[in-house]
């Protein structure tokens, strides 16, 4: 649905741009293409690497690692698993729901989803090219710390829904 909206926006933009100035429109398309083809190798690399990682970190493996009773260690593992994987958005949440079904804990899922979205190990080289090494490293480390924090806040909000989901209990 959002994709359709973006196609509509791009189409309207292109038509308006074409009416206003053909040369500029050609320039815009050229820039779009050169930006895309410029990072296409990185895209392919990212997609291949994440496909390989996911082949080994299957839902069953992840669910075992980050089960309800896995506690703080599970949260840590979940955030690491989320960091190294890259999953298309429309697959990520059905996957998260599947992991819950397979026995993953909700806090662990919170850490997993947060790291999945904010931390990018496979996209790191592209990020470094854009922002420089220090920014890319710092952003990813901070985002990773926040993925752990999310689990903590989820525990506070969702409460002690059961002894099994005790994050702090896992520590103490």
């Amino acid at each position: 649905m959002f994709t359709a909206l973006f196609y509509a926006l791009a189409a309207i933009g292109l038509v308006a741009s074409f009416i206003a100035d053909r040369e500029k429109t050609a320039g815009a398309l050229y820039k779009a293409w050169s930006a895309f083809s410029g990072i296409l190798p990185e895209f392919v690399m990212i997609i291949t690497a994440s496909g390989l990682i996911l082949a080994y970190l299957s839902p069953d493996v992840i669910a075992v690692l980050i089960g309800e009773r896995s506690g703080a260690v599970g949260v840590l593992l979940a955030s690491l698993a989320g960091s190294v994987t890259l999953i298309p958005g429309f697959v990520a949440f059905p996957l998260a729901a599947l992991l819950l079904e397979k026995g993953a804990g909700i806090l662990q899922i919170g850490a997993f989803v947060s790291a999945l979205m904010m931390v990018g190990v496979v996209t790191f080289s592209l990020e470094r090219k854009t922002f420089g090494t220090r920014v890319a490293v710092t952003r990813n480390v901070l985002a990773w710390v926040f993925s752990l924090l999310v689990a903590l806040v989820l525990r506070l909000v969702l409460g002690g829904a059961g002894a099994g989901v005790a994050l702090l209990g896992g520590i103490g």
Binding site: F2, T3, L5, F6, Y7, L9, A10, A11, S17, K24, G27, A28, K31, A32, W33, S34, A35, F36, S37, G38, I39, P41, E42, F43, M45, I46, I47, T48, S50, G51, L52, L54, A55, S58, L86, P88, G89, F93, P94, A96, G110, V113, S114, M117, M118, G120, T123, T130, F131, G132, R134, V135, T138, R139, L142, F146, V150, V153, L154, L158
Partner: protein
Amino acid sequence: MMAGRLRRFGGMLLPLSVLALVAFIAPDRAADAVGTIGTSLREMILVIPPVFVLLGLLDVWVPRDTLIRYLGPGSGATGTLIAFLLGSVAAGPLYAAFPIAAVLMRKGSSFFNVMVFIGAWSTTKVPMFLFEYAALGGAFALTRLAVNIPAILLIALVLTRGVGPNPGPRTSGDVTPPGAPSG
């Protein structure tokens, strides 16, 4: 040029050769990987074209002065809000956000706002939130959102104050060659 091109595509060789290796040792795993790669490629091909067309239009039509006014260092809270909304209504995976960030930086957006844009793109995208709400429930999705919004601002602040923009020559040139005939 040739050597540069080789180096550029050389990065693809490593994961591709690992994939070939896995195909030898564990064909099932390789099949799994290829399935996932197929899904991701489909996402890329379906979702990304309009994002890049809009990027091209933005680059050509929005004058530097205008962009500075709305997203530049003097744009204040309004600029940050705009960066937040730009990132949140976006479509596509995070790696598609980096070339757009490069254009924004080149056109004079403040570094803080670019970082807010990246943060929003990564976690507060509207369609993603709807997916999350449906799959994992309201308490989960809203809690994450409540943590993420201040987290994005805080991370952007730390990156701006502590690490700095790092406006090296690589910043914009590498990802979107401004007009270099690379094709």
